[in-house]
Every structure is written in C-alpha cells, then in structure tokens.
Amino acid sequence: MSWFMGIDIGAAYSKGVIIQDSELAAYHVILSGANYRTAAETIRHELLKQLKLSQDAIDDTAATGTGGINVAFASQQVSDIVCTARGMNTVFPAARTVIDVAAQSTKVIRIDAQGLVTNFTVSEKCAAGSGRFIEVMANVLRIDLKDFGPLSLKSGNPVSFSTGCAVFGESEAITRVSEGIPKEDIAAGVNKALAGKVSSLVKKIKLEEPCAICGGGALNIGLVKAAEQEMNVHLLLPPQPQIITALGAAITARTSNSNM
C-alpha cells in the first residue's frame, strides 16, 4: 500500500489530494491566502488527519500551480498543464481536450490516448476570461459563489453584456441591478459571456471530442451548460473538478516512484 500526495497552490485556492495506489483517498481545498507556504502546510495537515496517517506514511509528494515552489515538503515541481492532463486522463481516459477554468486563467489542453499533452493554450491576462469574472459578479449580485450556477439556471432571458471587460462589465451589471433586472438573468448573462470567451480560446486549438472541463470554474453548473451551448459539445464533468490538477500531481509522484 503506497500513499502519494499532490499539492496544487493556485492564485486563489490551494488544493491537495492523497492517492492510495491509484485511487483518490482524500482531498482538501482552502483559500490560498497571502502565504503559500502556510497554505501547503495546512493542506498537508488536514489530509493526513482525514486518513489518520503520519507524515512518514506518504511515499512522495509533488507540487504544482502558481505557488507550487512554496511547497517545502514536495520532492518535485510539475507543470500544471501536465498535472491537469494526467489528472483528467485518470478520471476520463477517453477525453482528448480538457478545459481548465481557474480563478485567474483559463487553459485548453489537448491530450492523446496515453494522457500526454500534445498542445495547449492559456488565457491569463484578462480577468473577464477567468473565474475571477464570476467572483466579481457574484459580489455585485450579493450572492455566494456556490449559488451562482444554480441561480443562473433559473433564467430564461440572459442579459447581454456590451463589453468584454470585467471592470466595465461590473458597472454594467450594477446598472442592470439598479434597473430591477432579475439576478438570475444577470448571472446567466455572465456565464454566457465567460462561456463565449472559453469557446474563443478553444477555437485556437482544434477541439477533439470527447471534451472535458475542470477547475474551480467548473463548479459553476451554469457555466458548464453555457459552454456546452456555445461550443455545441457535451462536456465531461468530473465529480470534483477543482482537484483534478492536484490529482495529476499525486499521480506524477507515484509514477516517478514506480521505477524505483
């Protein structure tokens, strides 16, 4: 029985998983906060507690993400693109395109049958093309992030945004609220706008189905459905989309050690 840990320190959220052989055994998600080192330690502590394991029980740890370098107890750093691909390949081996909607970026990755990355593209310069857009709008609507998706599904008339910018869009949303436009219509419009950006990004890489979606943004069911509509494809959605990259890191740790 061998245990491997994967830690993904993102700009907004930090994620960790422990796998036992090749099965997911535990996972944990926290806000990254200002101190990535502390975030990594907190996740490790929580994961070990969940499984009642000691630190020594973990055979190896790999880290990834914006703050991966701050995971002091990791023996290797792995690219997040590779981790996302590996993680998704484990959950949906048939997937050939993976969309990762994260807090500050969106990535589209093409993978082959072996789960190897063949191509990818990233949008990380503009908040309107990332999960941040949803966060800003959830704030405008005064609702929790987790309620954004379900609320948007109630709309039959999504609002159209005239701008592609999150800052200008925020002003537009505020105006819509003051005009009495129902919140669900605004939320649906926001999801539609972001889905449009995702769709444009996917077009930069030849989409090959089956296509899967992950990242914190995929917790927003309204966004997933809107993306399916925009791209006219069915999207494979893992049960825990936010931890796919951390899962890939853990798998990498295991793979590196299987040769020893």
Binding site: K125, R132, C165, A166, V167, F168, E172, I174, T175, S178
Partner: protein, 281 residues
C-alpha cells in the same frame, strides 16, 4: 446670439456656452453617472444661469459624446472625435497629435491643419483608461485628485506585472502588505497607463504639438509619465475636460453661420429643457 456645446461623456457631462465672438461665457461639469443619466438638462440650465443667458437666445446647440443621441434640446449631434479635434485646434493651432484619456476610453487623434485625419481608440479594456486609476486609487484609499501630488513624492517606481485592472489591483494589495509605499505604487501605475496610451499614439508619427485632454490630464503625475514615455513636450489646456464641449460649441457656431450664409433654413429643436432619455444597453 449664443452657441452651446454639450458633451455627455460616460463619466462626466460638460456644457460650454459661447457668444458669437467665440468667448466662453460659462462652463459647467457634472458627473453623468447611472443615477444622473438625465443630467444634461440640469447642466444646461446651470450654464445658462451662470452666463445669464436665456435659452431662447441660444441660436444653435450641438451635442456630442457617449450620450449625444439622447439630448432632446440639441439641434445636431456630432461625433466626439470631431468635436475634440476642433476644440483642441482652437486652443493649440499647431496640434498634430491629440490624446484624450477619459473615464472609460482613450483616444488618439491625428490632426493636420485643424482637420482630423485619423484616429485610434481603446474602449475595450479598462486598464488603458481613466477607470484604471479610479480603481487603483480606491484600492489605496486615495482620492483621484490627490494621485498627481502623491506620485511626485515617489522615490522608486513599483512595477506591477499584470496589465488587467483587476489582477493589478490584487498585486497592489500584496505589494502594500509587503510594506511598499502608496506613492511608489502610484508612480508605477502612472507609468503603466502612460505606456498603454502611448502605444496607441505611436500608431501615428508622434510629432509636436502633442496635446493631452480628458479628466486624466488633470493628473500631473500622468502628464509627466506621458512626457517621459513619448519623449516630447505634452501640452495641456487649462481645463482639460471641456475641449469636447468647446469643439461642439464652435461647430455649432460654424454650422449656423454656414447655413445662414448659404440662405438655408436652420432646423432647431424646441427651446425647452426636457430631461434626456439615456439609452440603456
């Protein structure tokens, strides 16, 4: 006989009232804002009161700017680019490049002998507009009008790697928590915005006279940053906000005079101040 120009910007509404000699009798500026969408008539009323001119003696009124289509008392609508170019030319007859940085957009105009010959604009990304400074100032808890003075105290410029206003905002919060000073951050922000606007301007050959207008031109730190980036003198009018409305008033007079000279009937709107109906998106 009087002429008026009304410039309804996304952030500010400006009115200039002029007499037949081209003397400016009054100028009024007020925030457009979502709650003040119907401000044009109020601003016009204030301008007339200040100049002690009755509305019926205003021979011609031109509206310009973002909200120009919805000013019921305007006789004609002219695009803000034409109005800005005309206004800047009246103040600086040797202008070649006119840069206007407003609340929600940035425009660069190429002017030859007073005529607008080309332009380029950004109204898509907040990071290249006055909005960028607004958001950053709010994050730092500083008033917009204090940015210039504060930035002059800076001893080092803090570079922010993110272009996007929202991501830059996060980075700034991090820098502040690391102990960096507000004035150094502001200096960095001025440089960043100046660089983005200068990139627009460089689509044309940047040669003197280069004039800067718009609310952002009131920020001395921004003017210096633009000077540094473009490597040339930047001229700023005494009131950088009113060049659009000024140009509109001048064009109002020219339209009227030309029609009179050619014996044409001049179509005007009823001289009563109704509330503007601003279009919603």
């Amino acid at each position: 006989m009087y002429f008026a120009g009304v410039d309804i910007g996304s952030t500010m509404t400006k009115v200039v009232l002029m007499d037949a000699d081209g003397t400016i009798l009054s100028t009024i500026k007020g925030p457009t804002g979502p709650e003040h969408r119907q401000l044009a008539n109020e601003v016009m009323r204030m301008a007339l009161e200040q100049a002690k001119v009755p509305l019926k003696e205003v021979a011609y009124i031109v509206a310009t700017g973002y909200g120009r289509l919805n000013v019921p008392f305007a006789d004609r609508q002219i695009t803000e680019l034409s109005c800005h170019a005309r206004g800047v030319y009246s103040l600086f007859p040797n202008v070649r490049i006119a840069i206007d940085i407003g609340g929600q957009d940035a425009k660069c105009m190429k002017i030859n002998n007073g005529k607008l010959v080309d332009f380029v604009m950004n109204d898509k990304c907040a990071a290249g507009t006055g909005r960028f400074l607004e958001v950053i100032a709010a994050t730092l808890g500083i008033k917009l009008e204090d940015l210039g003075a504060l930035s002059s105290k800076s001893t080092k410029r803090i570079s922010i790697s993110n272009v996007c206003t929202i991501f830059a905002q996060q980075e700034i919060v991090a820098r502040l928590s690391e102990g960096e000073k507000a004035e150094d951050i502001i200096a960095g922000m001025h440089e960043a915005l100046a660089s983005r606007v200068a990139t627009l301007a460089r689509r044309f050959k940047v040669e003197p006279d280069v004039v800067l207008t718009g609310g952002v031109a009131k920020n001395s730190g921004m003017v210096n940053a633009m000077r540094e980036n473009l490597g040339c003198e930047i001229l700023v009018p005494p009131d950088p906000l009113i060049t659009g409305a000024m140009g509109a008033a001048i064009l109002a007079q020219e339209t009227y005079m030309k029609a009179t000279a050619e014996g044409e009937t001049i179509q005007t709107k009823p001289r009563r101040l109704e509330k503007a109906k601003f279009f919603t998106q």
